[in-house]
């Protein structure tokens, strides 16, 4: 499946949060993300991502292992995504290291997640703060087959518009890149 996703900078976070709170119940979660690469950086060069994410939520702590392939949509950067839950986060890190991968960057994302149904699709809208990066971000995504990406992105754009986010606010800036720049 492809994660058809758009990300925007939010200029009025209070208003966007209010509109989202009216549409769905927020799940407030803290993500602790560690991105891995091969020592030669070949995953990044191939536009791929390998990540262990521990999610601290209001009623659970869970860890997911994720691999994202190279983007299939130039404009949005939407990527094929494979994700599975793992029971033991420490073991997941140990397995990746044991296979020769090295942690490239680790940081926290603070998220308000909203499960929305819009235009006949299940969407996830997430208001995001990364403590090391200025500003608040909004991600809206939905999982679709590859031949549906363009249509899905149109629907995602429509949801963003309903939240007061226009095309000029969209960004392809990555958190990993911004955090790395901040730390360098």
């Amino acid at each position: 499946m492809i994660e058809a996703e758009l990300k925007a900078r939010v200029h009025s976070p209070e208003q966007v949060m209010r509109l989202l709170d009216e549409r769905a119940q927020a799940r407030v979660e803290v993500y602790q993300d560690t991105y891995y690469d091969r020592p030669d950086g070949s995953l990044e060069k191939a536009d791929q991502e390998l990540r262990v994410r521990t999610v601290h939520g209001a009623d659970s702590r869970r860890t997911v292992l994720t691999f994202k392939g190279a983007a299939v949509d130039e404009g949005s950067g939407s990527k094929p995504e494979h994700e599975t839950r793992v029971d033991d986060s420490e073991a997941a890190h140990a397995i990746l290291r044991g296979l020769g991968h090295v942690p490239v960057i680790a940081f926290e994302k603070r998220c308000r997640n909203y499960d929305l149904e819009a235009r006949g699709r299940q969407m996830l809208a997430t208001l995001v703060r990364v403590p090391e990066i200025d500003g608040t971000f909004l991600e809206v995504e939905t999982l679709v087959d590859e031949d549906e990406v363009a249509a899905a992105l149109d629907d995602v754009r429509a949801v963003l518009a309903e939240l007061g986010i226009g095309p000029e606010d969209l960004t392809r800036e990555t958190y990993t890149g911004a955090v790395a720049a901040q730390r360098s």
């Binding site: 986060s89 420490e90 403590p131």
Partner: protein, 284 residues
């Protein structure tokens, strides 16, 4: 549809028109909305989006079937319509605060420091152990610490380096001074003799001292203040509960607090822990 969410920008001259000023002074939001429709060409949907309310609500206000009375709603409307300060004053609002692009209050309200609440320490046990296994620093503020760390089957004992192949976890434990007045008071509060409570603290100290032999990086201190907070910190995550009269620490509801840039709880508790260490006597 495409224009529904464009921001509404009424020209300054419109805000200065007598009938608009009169509507603001009377706090008649129905009339204000009608003028916004008239001068900005804004639909009810656009006004609704700008003011963070439903279109149905805007319709009711415009048609006088509902009145706005809450201050926060006036604030929202004023912000959403980008009212100049003069117009805000007529409504009885303070001047527009500096552009609120998030800020500490928003961050803490939207992304709270307390990420999870447990009915008692028991329900947090598994998670505390998981965190401890991955942590580099472990701080514990307890009374005698037998349930937490002192005994073989204590919550955190299995996570200590001895069983972990010496992974470099730094452990600091603060226990109540067995010779302090606070210990006598605490013993009375939980219906135990001071002798028994003091004996428990000494037992915990002895058991923790054994960890030194396994080259564990552990420090144990005695503090003399009245036990108030019970803290377990692992790196940037803290589990917080309280001691009170007739209330054992492990029975208290427990908050999981995660460090954020603006969060006062995590900072405050960490600072308090350091301050208690400063004034404490090291025994291990």
């Amino acid at each position: 549809m495409g224009t529904t969410l464009q921001p509404i920008d009424l020209p300054d001259w419109a805000w200065e028109r007598a009938e608009v000023r009169q509507a603001l002074r009377a706090r008649d939001m129905g009339a204000v909305f009608r003028h916004v429709q008239q001068y900005a060409g804004a639909s009810q949907a656009r006004i609704a989006a700008a003011a963070g309310m439903t279109q149905a609500r805007v319709n009711e206000i415009i048609n006088r079937r509902r009145e706005v009375s809450r201050l926060d709603v006036y604030e929202r409307i004023a912000d959403g319509l980008h009212m100049p300060d003069d117009a805000r004053h007529l409504l009885g609002l303070a001047a527009s605060r500096e552009k609120r692009s998030g800020g500490a209050a928003f961050d803490l309200a939207a992304f709270p420091e307390v990420v999870r609440v447990y009915a008692a320490q028991n329900s947090a046990a598994e998670e505390i152990q998981q965190q401890a296994r991955e942590a580099e620093e472990l701080d514990v503020l307890a009374v005698r610490g037998l349930g937490l760390i002192g005994l073989n089957d204590s919550l955190l004992r299995a996570c200590l380096p001895r069983d972990q192949g010496g992974k470099g976890l730094r452990v600091r434990v603060l226990l109540l001074d067995p010779d302090s007045d606070a210990l006598v008071q605490r013993a009375a509060e939980i219906g135990e003799s001071a002798e028994s409570l003091a004996g428990g603290v000494r037992l915990a100290e002895a058991r923790l001292r054994e960890l030194l032999a396994d080259s564990c990086d552990i420090e144990v201190y005695r503090y003399r203040m009245l036990p108030t907070w019970r803290l377990i910190r692992m790196d940037s995550t803290m589990f917080v509960s309280a001691f009170d009269a007739g209330w054992e620490g492990h029975e208290s509801a427990t908050y999981k607090v995660m460090e954020t840039p603006h969060g006062p709880l995590f900072r405050g508790f960490r600072r308090m822990f350091e301050a208690v260490i400063e004034g404490a006597q090291r025994t291990v």
